[in-house]
């Protein structure tokens, strides 16, 4: 099932590992196939109470009044939790690492900013009773105009979504409204280019849809602490967030979890724990707060939508000489983790390609949509979708094979990245070569010989060629204007207004010395051998 291509970069590895490369069983697989893995909801408590949440039906509205008197009188209702009951009713997840300002209430008191925002909780003897009681709560709203589009949200006079960030953009380092990347001279790059390809890409929000919905159970312990069984993907992160919101010490909470019924990023937001802990403290009883499927799909935070504009300048010979990106990350009504997604997005531009002139602006934008969160490479995934679509369009524009086009532009060791870091341990060329081989996609010999190593154009002892049939003749996208696929050395500057050439130092080959601590030396563990 798993194929490790140890022939590639074989000379850079001490192939002495006992576990890596060997199939191994999951440590939790026996529990999974016997139905005995302890998911959070597989713990049973006598007299368990149930918390359910009243959610806003409006995307943006002022709350005029809340009347929960009828609900409070219903049999089985043990406690109503209002915004005023939450000890610290404003938080932002990344405040734990001093990143961003508190901007999101656990329960909204004055304004709701997205459809589904929590307003009030009811603790009852069963989920059924709690839901029936929620239906008896009367909330009077003044609907407000809402904004759902990232570019609309940035216009002059747009509706202000988030009171903490009235301009609808996250604030970096206390003053910047977006992340910037500048490298080389973008105007000169476009002027130099033979062709310009420009397009707009839109990624939708995506729900993680784990088969186990978000949830947690808080149980008062005998020593005054609370034991919390939770579906969270981020146990200690959730613990600290819950402690902050409940104004507790971390050591008053004992979190038990780790068996997660699918997360994919949708269980890092600490969506249930703070309120279920509060409910357990207010009632003195064990309380469960479990998302229903509708709650999970509609209000569980999704992958954020992204809108990305890409403009590329390319030479007839296939070299990309300029790349400009303008990207808007839809954070929804609150920050959660989107501020970080934007940093990741900016760090990933211009993709794994050596481009001398790069210019990017990436915005974290607030709208009246469900707050977004982590999901499998968020910030990077949508950008890659845009960039790789763009790579295909560029290849077509210059009449090149799309894989050869990527190999030509791929990072090689020693290249200078747009972030002014030297590219090291590159492997895209080899990945592209193997992918082409697996797909029986013919590459011309010069591309099959290219390598990610410094210099890159020279065959590397036939490593990637081994055991391969001669390449079939290409029925080719022929490009008469093409002269050579060899890239000019990075030190020979492009024609007009070149960026400063990256330093090209060639360090002596490292000596494979024994390690000071006596353990077997392995390049992946003890640092890079390839420079």
């Amino acid at each position: 099932m798993l194929e490790l291509r140890k022939d590639i970069f074989a000379d850079e590895r001490d192939d002495n590992l006992k576990e890596i490369g060997q199939p191994t069983a999951r440590q939790d697989i026996l529990g999974h196939v016997t139905g005995t893995s302890p998911f959070y909801d597989d713990h049973r408590f006598a007299n368990l109470l149930h918390l359910k949440i009243l959610r806003s039906p409006h995307a943006h509205a002022r709350i005029r009044s809340i009347d929960d008197s009828a609900a409070a009188r219903m049999p089985g209702v043990k406690r109503i939790i209002r915004a005023a009951d939450v000890p610290v009713n404003l938080n932002t997840l990344l405040s734990l690492i001093q990143f961003g300002k508190d901007d999101e209430p656990s329960l909204a008191s004055d304004v709701v900013r997205y459809k589904g925002e929590p307003i009030l909780g009811i603790v009852a003897t069963s989920e059924r009773v709690a839901l029936d009681a929620l239906a008896q709560v009367r909330v009077s709203y003044d609907p407000l105009p809402a904004v759902f589009d990232v570019e609309e949200a940035l216009k002059q006079g747009a509706v202000s979504v988030n009171a903490t960030y009235p301009k609808n953009t996250f604030e970096y380092y206390g003053k910047y409204d977006h992340q910037k990347l500048r490298y080389g001279d973008i105007a000169a790059g476009f002027a130099q280019a033979d062709m310009i390809v420009e397009d707009r890409y839109q990624m939708s929000p995506i729900e993680h849809a784990p088969t186990e919905t978000n949830g947690s159970i808080a149980v008062p312990d005998t020593n005054g602490r609370l034991i919390v069984y939770t579906s969270t993907q981020a146990l200690f992160f959730s613990l600290d967030t819950s402690a902050k919101i409940n104004a507790m010490q971390s050591n008053q909470l004992h979190f038990i979890g780790g068996t997660v019924g699918g997360g994919f990023g949708g269980k890092v937001d600490t969506l249930t724990e703070p309120l279920v802990i509060l409910a357990a403290r207010l009632t003195g009883a064990p309380v469960r707060y479990r998302f229903g499927r509708h709650e999970e799909m509609q209000f569980g935070s999704p992958r954020g939508a992204e809108r990305i504009y890409v403009k590329d300048g390319v030479m007839k010979d296939g070299r990309i000489v300029a790349r400009q990106v303008r990207s808007y990350f839809d954070s929804g009504a609150y920050t959660r983790l989107s501020s970080y997604a934007v940093v990741k997005c900016a760090a990933h531009i211009p993709g794994p390609y050596t481009i001398p002139n790069v210019h990017a602006d990436v915005f974290c934008v607030f709208t009246n949509r469900t707050p977004a969160t982590a999901m499998r490479g968020f910030g990077v995934t949508a950008l890659d979708f845009a960039l790789e679509c763009q790579m295909d369009k560029l290849a077509t524009a210059v009449g090149m094979d799309p894989i050869e086009f990527r190999i030509l532009n791929a990072y090689r060791d020693g290249d200078m990245k747009a972030h002014r870091r030297e590219a090291k341990n590159c492997a895209l060329i080899e990945c592209a070569q193997v992918a082409a081989e697996k797909a029986n996609w013919p590459l011309r010999d010069e591309f099959r010989r290219m390598s990610s190593r410094q210099g890159g154009g020279v065959a590397r002892g036939g490593t990637t060629d081994r055991s391969r049939a001669p390449a079939p003749a290409i029925a080719a996208p022929s490009a008469p204007q093409r002269v050579s696929y060899e890239r000019p050395a990075a030190a020979s500057p492009p024609r007009s207004a070149p960026p400063p050439p990256p330093p090209r130092t060639t360090p002596p080959p490292p000596t494979p010395a024994g390690s000071s601590h006596g353990a077997p030396r392995f390049s992946s563990v003890f640092g890079t051998r390839r420079r």
Binding site: A25, R26, V33, T34, T211, G262
Partner: protein
């Protein structure tokens, strides 16, 4: 109002009380204590809570508990015989057919229903049999392979 219900669960007689209108999933988990059955959507769409009722796969979250009186119900908790795993369990382990493990009990029961009536299914028949069960982790391929492996009996059955 609570009514008494009696049925067979994994070969043992079970008697309990259930609120009128309660679904089988809640009765199995909350009243009987069989936690091998998991709830995923509570609306009959994801297959996570699949159990066998008289040999047929059924989504327990939309099955009225009262309708199960006198029936025979099988769940993942009853798959193994003492220390010996069912061939499907072994095949799931060896084929890496579970990641988070939450859909696995339902998946196993859907597969068991297939193999019980068709010991040598084709790949298409396996795909059809688990077609009502959602897995968000594996991409299904290892699960299909596991069911085919169990059917071929090349998992060195220990039972």
């Amino acid at each position: 109002m609570k009514t008494p219900i009696q049925f067979r669960l994994n070969g043992e007689d079970v008697a309990t009380f259930a609120e009128s209108g309660t679904n089988l999933l809640d009765v199995l988990r909350e009243s009987v204590g069989d936690l091998s059955v998991k709830g995923g959507c509570w609306q009959g769409t994801c297959g996570t809570c699949t159990v066998l009722i008289d040999g047929a796969p059924r989504v327990s979250c939309v099955t009225l508990a009262e309708s199960c009186a006198g029936r025979s119900i099988e769940t993942t908790a009853g798959l193994r015989r003492g220390a010996d795993l069912h061939p499907l369990q072994t095949a799931f382990m060896e084929n890496f057919a579970a990641q988070c493990g939450y859909c696995t009990p339902g998946m196993l029961m859907a597969a068991k229903a297939l193999l019980d009536r068709n010991p040598s299914p084709t790949r298409e028949e396996v795909v059809d049999a688990i077609g009502g069960n959602i897995c968000r982790c594996t991409g299904y391929e290892p699960i299909i392979q596991a069911v085919l492996t169990a059917a071929r009996g090349d998992d060195r059955r220990r039972a």
